[in-house]
């Protein structure tokens, strides 16, 4: 099977500060991909560059056989590469229904709008109950659900999740993890940044350890890396 996404030699940053130094990852060949590593070392920057929020300074990004380097976020979404950013910062004054409607803004997602809406409602019954409620009145976990729901409305071929369980209470976190696993089982490949090792290992066995804006270690499926080694990387030896 071909790679869905391959990033090679990507250099990017903000202003004069370079965060990514020629980073490269592949996704799609071995199922889901997990990214981990210390904060402030480029995970989020990498995802922002991939989804077109940030113009890379060098390197290339190929998605679904097409070079998307430097394309606008809009056309990247239209290609089916959908990014759920960190911190569930959505549209606070829109209702859940409004958000879902916006999720299907892309022309390629319109025909699937009704079906995707049912899918989201089935995945997050909690949201279906309060369709007309404003996002700002929701809890952190519920907002994260809306974020993921909006992404599903965009009819993704590949879904990027940046720390979906950050700062959530254990109970709602379990609920969310289950939903993410369901999405994956339904056949949407994922790229996930996550601090929760257990969850990440449950989701995928293809991992990248990102440090200093580069891939320090790649763990491919079948690599015999002990759980404890991964834990050591997580917590910096």
């Amino acid at each position: 099977m071909m790679n869905m996404l391959s990033v090679t030699g990507l250099t990017a940053g903000y202003g004069r500060v370079t965060v990514l130094h020629g980073i490269g990852i592949e996704a799609g060949k071995h199922g889901n991909v997990g990214l981990f590593g210390p904060n402030g070392h480029g995970k989020t920057t990498l995802l922002r560059a991939v989804s077109g929020l940030l113009k890379p300074k060098a390197g290339s990004i190929v998605f679904d056989g097409a070079d998307i380097t430097g394309e606008s976020a809009r056309s990247i979404v239209a290609r089916g590469l959908v990014h759920v950013p960190q911190g569930n910062t959505l549209f606070p004054d829109l209702t859940i229904a409004d958000c879902m409607s916006l999720g299907a803004f892309s022309p390629h997602a319109r025909p699937h709008e009704a079906a995707n809406k049912e899918r989201v409602a089935a995945l997050f019954p909690k949201l279906a109950e309060r369709w007309r409620q404003r996002v700002r009145t929701l809890s952190g976990g519920e907002r994260q659900m809306v974020s993921i729901g909006v992404a599903l409305m965009s009819h993704p071929k590949l879904l990027i999740l940046d720390e979906p369980t950050l700062g959530l209470a254990p109970k709602i976190k379990d609920e969310l993890c289950k939903a993410v696993l369901d999405i994956s089982k339904a056949g949407v490949p994922l790229i996930v940044v996550e601090q929760d090792v257990e969850f990440l290992l449950e989701l995928t066995n293809h991992l990248y350890f990102i440090n200093h804006g580069q891939v320090e270690t790649e763990i491919k499926p079948g690599d015999s890396l002990a759980h404890s080694d991964i834990m050591a990387m997580y917590f910096g030896q």
Binding site: S72, T89, D93, L94, D98
Partner: protein
């Protein structure tokens, strides 16, 4: 009875004009987070476009919509030249104040050069006069009072009932998230400015139909529109609309009881008092952050 009719009519009329102006200002603020200080000049330019078209022999029914459409284009161009390139600057609000002021000065002096300082007048929407509750009023003013709420309602429906309107509101709230669902942020910024400029042009046509036009005719309406959005809160469209009518009535009552001279002073005093008590405006529940 006469007093009541006077105040009612005056309030509705002024309120309509203020609402037309303020809504455009608020729309640009909520979507882009900048204040367009050339809004008054756009109003003036719209009126001059209409005048020129009528002067060329077009009927008002044709000239007015064309002028409004032309102004949509002007708004778009204005946004693309003096606003969009600045997006992302740390002191965006401030810099846009100065670039839109400068653009306004450019247009104002251009109009002066092109059409001269002599005041002009465009035909009223509806000619003729009527007696209403013992007060003589022009049908043009009645038409404005009737047409304005219809246009504002259409705008409200557009923003709240269509996907494009929804997109405009979304961009205002979170630009990154808007990009990530595939919204064309650049296009939406242009659209916000185009709509605002069209509404300003309409206000200009309203005003030019019963008062003489001059190149500086937009200065006072801009000022009033600013006051309206401060009163109404700048984070929504409905807030300024209510505030516009409220201020229209406030002025009508003040000028009836205290005279025209003291009305502006009273209005500003009320404005400052309002801001001290409720800085985010009377009708606003929140304010757009200004980092």
């Amino acid at each position: 009875m006469n007093a009541l009719a006077d105040i009612l009519f005056g309030g509705l009329f002024q309120g309509s004009l203020y609402a037309m102006m303020a809504v455009g200002l608020a729309l640009v603020w909520t979507t882009i987070g900048v204040f367009n200080f050339s809004h008054g000049v756009l109003m003036m330019l719209g009126a001059y476009f209409a005048w020129q078209l009528v002067d060329w022999g077009l009927t008002a029914a044709l000239a007015f919509p064309i002028a409004v459409l032309l102004m949509a284009g002007v708004g778009w161009v204005l946004q693309a030249t003096v606003v969009r390139p600045l997006i992302g600057r740390a002191n965006l609000v401030l810099v846009v104040v100065i670039t839109t002021l400068a653009a306004g000065s450019l247009i104002e002096n251009g109009v002066l050069e092109l059409w001269g300082p002599r005041s002009k007048q465009i035909p009223p929407l509806v000619a003729g006069n009527a007696m209403l509750g013992g007060v003589g009023v022009s049908l043009h003013q009645i038409a404005i009072i009737v047409v304005t709420p219809i246009i504002l309602l259409a705008l409200w429906l557009f923003l709240n009932r269509t996907r494009l309107g929804l997109a405009l509101r979304a961009v205002a709230q979170n630009e990154d998230a808007a990009r990530l669902v595939g919204l064309n942020v650049t296009m939406l910024y242009g659209l916000a400015f185009a709509i605002a400029a069209s509404l300003a042009a309409l206000a200009g046509i309203f005003l030019g139909g019963y008062r003489f036009m001059t190149p500086v005719m937009g200065a006072d309406p801009l000022l009033k529109a600013l006051i309206v959005v401060v009163f109404g809160g700048i984070s929504s469209i409905s807030g300024p609309i209510f505030a516009a009518y409220l201020i229209g009535f406030f002025e009508a009552i003040c000028s009836y009881y205290f005279g025209l001279y003291w009305t502006p002073a009273l209005l500003f005093a009320a404005l400052i008092l309002t801001l001290m008590i409720k800085p985010e405006g009377i009708f606003a529940s929140r304010s757009r952050g200004l980092a």
